[in-house]
């Protein structure tokens, strides 16, 4: 599970560096919230203390790479992980048709949570001009991140469910 946690953190770090670079050329809000999506993927695949700590660490990394107050992403991504775990009890988040609206709703909650915690962004029309494309970008990227995460999980931990794990099981069956 440690390798899974480390791989998830690595995925988040690479995503953050890409977002930080691409933000120079793209309008604000057009890029997804990488750490929130990784926290959702962690919620889908990594339960218990390992998932909890990794989601917090992934958010903490975003805090260290951002100009915002330390701790806010850590707390919000922890919330994303918890809500994903809770959501899994009620709906099938593995299905794209469920995951996409869930991520949009989570993006809204994330925004409100941030506003409640640090007072940023100021709620209003300017905020919507960034929040709407951001929620859309999150929804579009959620499926890709989930898929990437499943592949990564299968590679680093064959015991977990993932394409690689399925391949190993199938091979064992043939033998």
């Amino acid at each position: 599970m440690r390798r899974v946690a480390l791989a998830a953190w690595g995925l988040a770090l690479v995503g953050l560096l890409l977002v930080g670079s691409a933000a120079i050329w793209l309008p604000r809000g057009w890029l997804p919230d990488v750490t929130m999506l990784v926290a959702v993927a962690l919620g889908l695949h990594v339960p218990g203390a390992a998932g909890l700590v990794t989601a917090w660490a992934v958010g903490g990394t975003a805090d260290l790479l951002s100009g915002g107050p330390l701790g806010q992403h850590a707390l919000l991504d922890l919330g994303a992980w918890l809500l994903t775990r809770a959501g899994m009890q009620r709906v099938d988040l593995a299905r794209a048709v469920v995951l996409v609206p869930f991520v949009v709703a989570l993006s809204t909650l994330h925004l409100l949570g941030q506003w409640a915690l640090v007072g940023v962004p100021e709620l209003g029309r300017d905020m919507l001009a960034i929040a709407i494309p951001r929620a859309t970008a999150n929804a579009a990227a959620a499926l890709a991140v989930r898929r990437l995460f499943a592949v990564l999980l299968g590679r680093v931990d064959p015991d977990e469910s993932g394409p690689a794990a399925l391949r190993i099981d199938a091979a064992a069956g043939l033998r």
Binding site: L17, V53, D63, L64, G67, P69, V120
Partner: protein
């Protein structure tokens, strides 16, 4: 029995601990920012050190293409612009001559020359290699750090005006909180009327200027510059132009909206002023983040360089 209980409570206890740690970090970081001594932790330093070269490599190809295109487009209009600039230069030379004449007549030229020597500080050019990972915060990553004499609390400018202030450094990178960020504020004055107030970032593309009412002393089109009182930015740097004035006759404090002097959407190269105001310098002393030699204190530098001059590149070690 006890072991089973601990095992059952492990995740909830861990959750509470992580929430408490995050809340504590938020509270302490906000307090540090209010005090102005938000220097980087070693962990943030390591991440900046990793992020800067990677992001520089990622941005280089697109920057190259964009620059090549803009140079081509710029070349097409260069003749017209050249004529226009020659005309403008002639006008300014004439104006300059008139001002000098007036100053000499007033006997103030020497005083002003001495004053300029006091406020001029060396600066270090830096390239913007990354933006904030969150669209709600305005900060940039630049490719200069402590090894170049860049430290937290130092002002960052361009030729157009104030950009922001360095908030975190590593040996070869620094994070700069932009003026637009909602956490930013600085003391400003209206150049024309000398009306003084606080300029705050709004988190959007404009700035807010809160000033005390003293007649009709802030108008649309006025230029707001740094007052030098905040202890971070030297006096006289451009902040922005007034585009709206919200005057409430019942209030003592009025509000104006400013368009920043710097185009933050096209921030590529900036200059870090190798100087920290006396207040910030006192805060950092004894915390292992001493300013570069000859930098900081009430006197910006013992032998100040001209404002237009930049510090030469440090000698590269022989490979």
């Amino acid at each position: 029995m006890l072991r089973a209980l601990i095992e059952r409570l492990r995740v909830p206890l861990l959750l509470l601990l992580l929430i408490a740690l995050a809340l504590l970090a938020i509270a302490s970081d906000r307090r540090a920012l209010a005090r102005g001594d938000r220097e980087s932790s070693w962990l943030r330093g390591i991440l900046l050190e990793v992020a800067a070269p990677v992001q520089k490599a990622l941005t280089a190809p697109v920057d190259g293409t964009r620059n090549a295109w803009s140079h081509y487009v710029a070349l097409r209009g260069v003749r017209n612009e050249n004529d226009r600039l020659r005309e403008r230069l002639a006008q300014l030379e004439e104006e300059n001559l008139q001002f000098r004449e007036a100053l000499v007549e007033g006997g103030r030229l020497r005083t002003i020359a001495e004053m300029r020597r006091d406020v001029e500080v060396p600066m270090r050019p830096a390239q913007v290699v990354g933006m904030d990972v969150s669209p709600w915060f305005h900060s940039v990553l630049v490719d200069r750090g402590r090894s170049d004499g860049v430290h937290a609390g130092m002002p960052v400018v361009t030729e157009d005006g104030v950009v922001g202030v360095v908030t975190a450094t590593s040996p070869n990178a620094a994070r700069t909180l932009l003026l637009l960020d909602a956490q930013s504020s600085l003391d400003g004055i209206v150049q024309r009327s000398r009306a003084r107030g606080i300029v705050r970032g709004t988190g959007a593309d404009t700035l807010e200027f809160e000033f005390f009412v003293r007649g009709d002393d802030v108008q649309v089109g006025d230029l707001v510059i740094t007052s030098g009182f905040g202890g971070v930015h030297p006096k006289g740097s451009r902040i922005g132009e007034v585009i709206e004035v919200h005057a409430d006759p019942t209030a003592f404090e009025h509000r104006a909206i400013l368009r920043p002097a710097v185009d933050f959407g096209r921030l590529e190269q900036v200059f870090v002023l190798l100087w920290r105001g006396p207040t910030l310098d006192l805060l950092y002393q004894g915390e292992g983040d001493q300013p570069a030699p000859g930098v900081g204190g009430a006197e910006p530098a013992s032998k100040p360089a001209p404002a237009s001059a930049t510090v030469p590149e440090p000698a590269k070690p022989a490979s």
